[in-house]
């Protein structure tokens, strides 16, 4: 059976490669800081599943200190010149798109059609994690096709990964740290405290006020937690069901469906949803790490207003 662990080992090997290239790059003054950061990250993938929790936690804290106090730097990767790229683009034409498109297409095929496939009585792929495993395998397929087609220098895929990983930097790790923060918040009961504050202090006397409080509450709580899935049970149990549905007779389907979408408006507006908002800014080499959020902010606010309107118009049956 192909398990998630296999993909984690691949990821660990790639990160270890990035660390080694960094340590050997004498021209980068920050080479040891970079190598330590990616090296520890590699360890969490290679053996994280077998280490005690407290060791993993300590590794994460060391990584965070390395990145925040040590400051990551960026080396110079030997790569092709602009003229070489233009010439290569002419030579290969649309064939260059093949490996890129293989990634989503193989992920889609893998996660759809390999679900029920059995091998010697066990599922071929660990069923619960099929999309992530399919994505990992698809990148291997795309890499193989790309290497066979372009025949680049042997180390160049790894050198290029190092260029890109270093340009993303600490943001690569932020989504996982936020997931860890979410787990601590859940264990400490932060959600319940917020829901109580909201229902105690918000004016909820009319259907419109209750609808607005629920939708805005979903958005705000998502902004804090970075995740509408974390906000939904807390806010719906705190305001959605008791007030909008039970007290004012709102339709539970409309209220909960549009409530979740109000949470998504919050996701558009928060740095806490790092993998959607901060990581792409790093990946696209934007100087302002909040640039994506700034673009999304007006759309998020308008759609939140739209959601309140939709919920208010359609959740209550008119006599």
């Amino acid at each position: 059976m192909i398990k998630l662990e296999f993909i984690y080992v691949l990821m660990g090997l790639m990160l270890a490669g990035v660390a080694i290239i960094n340590v050997r790059d004498a021209k980068n003054p920050r080479r040891y800081v970079n190598a330590a950061f990616w090296g520890i990250y590699a360890v969490t993938f290679l053996v994280g599943s077998y280490l005690p929790d407290v060791v993993n936690g300590s590794l994460v804290i060391v990584m965070v200190l390395v990145a925040s106090i040590g400051k990551l730097g960026q080396g110079v990767t030997p790569t092709t010149s602009r003229d070489e790229r233009v010439a290569s683009a002419k030579r290969w034409g649309n064939k260059l798109y093949i490996p890129v498109l293989l990634v989503p297409i193989c992920t889609l095929i893998g996660s759809t059609y390999l679900k029920g496939v059995m091998f010697n009585g066990t599922p071929l792929i660990e069923p619960k994690q099929i999309t992530v495993i399919a994505l990992g395998i698809s990148t291997l397929i795309a890499l193989t096709v790309g290497v066979l087609m372009l025949r680049p220098p042997v180390l160049s895929p790894l050198l290029e990964s190092r260029r890109l990983m270093d340009s993303v930097g600490w943001a690569a790790v932020l989504p996982q740290s936020l997931a860890a923060l979410g787990a601590v918040f859940a264990a400490a009961g932060v959600g319940q405290v917020i829901a109580r504050l909201a229902s105690d202090y918000l004016p909820l006397g009319t259907p419109l006020a209750a609808v607005a409080a629920y939708a805005v509450g979903m958005a705000l709580f998502t902004i804090i937690m970075g995740n509408a899935f974390a906000a939904f049970p807390v806010m719906t149990a705190g305001i959605g069901l008791p007030l909008v549905v039970n007290q004012f007779g709102g339709d539970v389907v409309v209220v909960s469906a549009v409530g979740m979408l109000s949470g998504f408006c919050g996701t558009l507006m928060t740095p806490m949803a790092a993998n959607f908002n901060i990581v792409p800014a790093a990946l696209l080499e934007l100087k302002d790490k909040y640039a994506v959020i700034k673009v999304q902010l007006p759309t998020g606010l308008i759609l939140l207003l739209a959601n309140i309107t939709i919920m208010y118009l359609f959740a209550f049956k008119r006599a």
Partner: protein, 234 residues
């Protein structure tokens, strides 16, 4: 109430523009400590959740592929491809991607997209290429604006498309939560009520993308005027 200290740290940390990684870790450790747990337990809790969410990082495995192709001129090719389409502007390219992303997500095909897989190698270079064909060279700020918009379109498309599909995580979460509270609903009913917001999202963001084109044209006009002035004086 003391457990809200983590939120306070996060808000203050982001406002002061401290390193987000440091802010988030500090918030997690302090929240754990004030909830009456010992340091070893808190660090363990943090480590466990970090390890369990490693799957979100798997997308980085695509970087060797993207890097190798960029080395071989992928961005230049995307630029060239879009240049052949006369009507293409940055805003229209992004509008087309918004429509595709929303429509495919609504069919459950959420993996046909993503910032590492599609935006960095294809969507952003095409949008930048379209702007360069319209205005000649573009400055770094304009390039950054176009890239940020490309990333935003991917998010908005998938967020307000996926809920129309009945077997997506959020719909199943709603169904499961309501069941725990003794209410049985059909996923199809929930998915139907995602449609009005999806339409609003497309209209609102589509209009904003058309306004983006106007804004880009204005900036380009100003830049050209600024370049032209010294030469007339000379």
């Amino acid at each position: 109430m003391l457990s809200l200290i983590g939120i306070l740290i996060v808000v203050a940390g982001f406002a002061l523009r401290l390193n987000p990684l440091l802010v988030v870790t500090a918030a997690g450790i302090s929240t754990g400590l004030v909830s009456g747990r010992g340091p070893v337990e808190v660090v363990g809790l943090f480590g466990k959740a970090f390890i369990e969410s490693r799957y979100v990082a798997i997308v980085w495995l695509v970087l060797p592929v993207i890097g190798m192709l960029e080395r071989a001129g992928l961005k230049e090719r995307a630029h060239e491809t879009i240049g052949r389409i006369q009507a293409a502007t940055a805003g229209r390219v992004l509008l087309a991607y918004l429509a595709i992303r929303q429509a495919t997500a609504a069919m459950g095909l959420v993996s046909l997209g993503g910032h590492a897989q599609m935006v960095r190698p294809l969507v952003a270079p095409m949008a930048e290429g379209a702007a360069e064909h319209s205005f000649g060279t573009i400055d770094d700020d304009t390039r950054a604006t176009i890239r940020a918009n490309a990333a935003a379109v991917d998010n908005i498309g998938v967020f307000f498309g996926e809920d129309i599909f009945i077997a997506i995580g959020s719909i199943l979460l709603i169904k499961g939560f309501l069941e725990q509270n003794g209410i049985v609903v059909e996923p199809a009913q929930l998915a139907r009520w995602a449609i009005p917001t999806a339409v609003c999202a497309f209209v609102v963001h589509g209009v904003r993308l058309m306004l983006l084109d106007q804004k880009l044209a204005r900036t380009a006009g100003r830049a050209n005027a600024a370049n032209a002035t010294p030469s007339t004086n000379a």
